[in-house]
Amino acid sequence: MASKEILRVSDLCVDLFTQRSVIRPVDGVSYSVAAGETLAIVGESGSGKTVLNFAPLGLMPTGVNVDLSGSILFNDTELVGIAEPALRKLRGGSIGTIFQDPMSALNPARTIGRQIAEVSELHMGLSSSQAESRALDLLKLVRMSDPDARLKQYPHELSGGLRQRVMIAIAVAAEPQLLIADEPTTALDVTVQAQIIALLKDLQKRLNMAIVLITHDMGVVAGIASRVAVMYAGRVAEYGPVGDVLVEPRHPYTMGLIDAIPRADDAPGSLFRGLPGAPPILGAPIPGCAFAPRCHAAIESCHITRPALVSTVQPLVSAACPIINKHNHGGAYVQH
């Protein structure tokens, strides 16, 4: 772990002000990513994963005002409170982004060759012919079949998997140091998902990028990430190396999530394991542990005081649960 730290987020809070209400979808989140490393952010929909990553980059829809507090250091540049022009230079430049729905992020009226070339013109100062040839190189880099013909095609002529490859080509066009991928494979089939994951891994190795990958699929986490932050209702529930968190989860929520994944030895027709209840609808910060109403292990204090993220028996893993360290080992989530 001697590689350079690219991104350090500390105690980040995001408040969203909308026409109707105020919500805090991100409440005191901290993590860091180093060059060449992948951090996965997992959580259910509405847990604040997208806001966490895109609100600081100024990528929120109009009609929503954002207040940030805490700190985000990107290569020693503070992003909280940074001016919009400086941010614009980072977006698409040294920070690449990929969205879940490539169709809405691509311009339907332009060829994909043009769209890829544009990024190189904008951020690398290439001439238009240089950018064209770079677009071709990029399509080869993302292993598009028949790249010459693809340059002249429009987004709607491509399948979901190919569009996502185009998005990746655009995201890495300026050779970013950090790639933020928001559910890049959620809309894809497992077969195509496997291809995209393999591609991302390969690109990471070549460009020594740091990747923040947002997903709700534990399989994707296991396949690509070295560390993982599990989010619940805008907070980090558990944070640590993938090998520890997925194999021996310590937070009751992580345990429940992993336990709910169907296993090969589950008998056909047997009931599915899972968590009771539903995640809360975000609004004002929740006083105690947000997971307490669904937690089998909750004690009284869980409902009153917010548990801090503290390290567990495994020093690299931290979890926000007061009873974690009382167990000598957290792997037992016995329910049946």
């Binding site: 195509v192 496997a194 169907p262 539903a278």
Partner: protein
């Protein structure tokens, strides 16, 4: 098991759409035969765009098949029309992927379910109210939900409401089109368990369409694997998942990511390269040959028939018997690459 009479039988169904290429057709479902027995959950899996939804929609009459037969309790639905068809076909219900869109956002939940009751001729107010209560209870929702609007409910609750409404007409078959794909991880199991309970308690047969193979493995007793409009493998879940015989099923199963990083660390190349080809111009012969690791020249010549490798276990591949016998997928000779064949 095979002695039980089927509640739903689909024979050689073909459904096509006008293609965006002028004058061409997309055969989204191309000669599919499937069968559901009473109280059985049957999975239908395959990549997106292979025709799963079209098959389901054709069965309930949302698409008009070009040919083939749909038999409900041995009654051929194509022989019926108008009101009689509506009343007979009602025994097959459809659960949509997006539970929000499948409810009218101007109706309360109570009104939506009551409307289903009115449709089957229950006009008595007290009877309606009692039945709405019963149905909500059956899907695990409190009575108070009846006064709410769909937008006030969570995704999981909406899907339960959609299920409750289908149950109002006392169906014998439920066609569930990716019913939990839009739901959250921790909610999915709850809704899946609801399906399992309903199937046990009410004996409703269920065609469970999904692209999540792990989910289907646990829920379904039998599985159909679909590729580009055709069923390529079928059998009991145990057979298909433990001894997959079609190269496509094998690739599909090998692509399922594991949540265990120790297993993922050993994964090398993706099991299946490329995308599903356009159904407007499907490959000749075996449709999977352009992506198949075992394809040989013969695969391009004629469509491989379903080979029965075990009781109820069939695969449409010329190597089915060999794969089944040896558990090893035959490798092609290097000079015969499938891409060259497709020219």
């Amino acid at each position: 098991m095979s002695s039980t009479k089927s509640v739903l039988r689909v024979e050689n169904l073909v459904t096509r759409f006008k293609s965006v290429e002028r004058g061409k057709w997309v055969k989204a479902v191309d000669g599919v035969s499937i069968e559901l027995r009473p109280g059985e959950i049957v999975g239908l899996v395959g990549e997106s765009g292979c025709g799963k939804s079209t098959l389901g929609r054709s069965i309930v009459g949302l698409e008009r098949p070009q040919s083939g037969r749909i038999l409900l309790d041995d009654i051929d639905l194509s022989g019926l029309g108008g009101r009689k068809l509506r009343e007979t076909r009602r025994a097959i219900q459809y659960v949509f992927q997006d539970p929000y869109a499948s409810l009218n956002d101007r109706q309360t939940i109570g009104e939506a379910i009551t409307e289903a009751l009115v449709i089957i001729g229950i006009h008595d107010r007290t009877r309606q109210r009692r039945r709405v209560h019963e149905l909500l209870d059956q899907v695990g929702l409190p009575d108070t939900v009846a006064e709410r609007y769909p937008r006030e409910l969570s995704g999981g609750q909406r899907q339960r409401v959609a299920i409750a409404r289908s149950l109002a007409v006392e169906p014998r078959v439920l066609i569930c089109d990716e019913p939990v794909s839009a739901l959250d991880l921790s909610i999915r199991s709850q809704v899946m368990n609801l399906f399992l309970t309903l199937q046990k308690d009410l004996g409703v047969a269920c065609l469970f369409i999904a692209h999540d193979l792990a989910l289907v493995r646990q829920a379904a007793s039998r599985v159909y694997v679909m590729y580009l409009g055709k069923i390529v493998e079928q059998g009991t879940s145990l057979d298909v998942y433990e001894r997959p015989t079609h190269p496509y099923t094998r690739a599909l199963l090998a692509s399922i990511p594991s949540a265990d990083p120790r297993i993922e660390a050993t994964r090398e190349v993706p099991a299946l390269l490329g995308d599903i080809p356009s159904p407007t111009n499907p490959p000749s012969g075996c449709r999977f040959r352009t992506r198949c690791p075992s394809a040989v020249e013969a695969c391009a010549v004629a469509e491989p028939p379903t080979v029965w490798v075990g009781p109820g276990h069939g695969a449409a591949c010329i190597f089915a018997a060999q794969i089944r016998a040896t558990e090893v997928v035959p490798q092609p000779e290097p000079q015969r690459l499938p891409q060259q064949l497709s020219a």
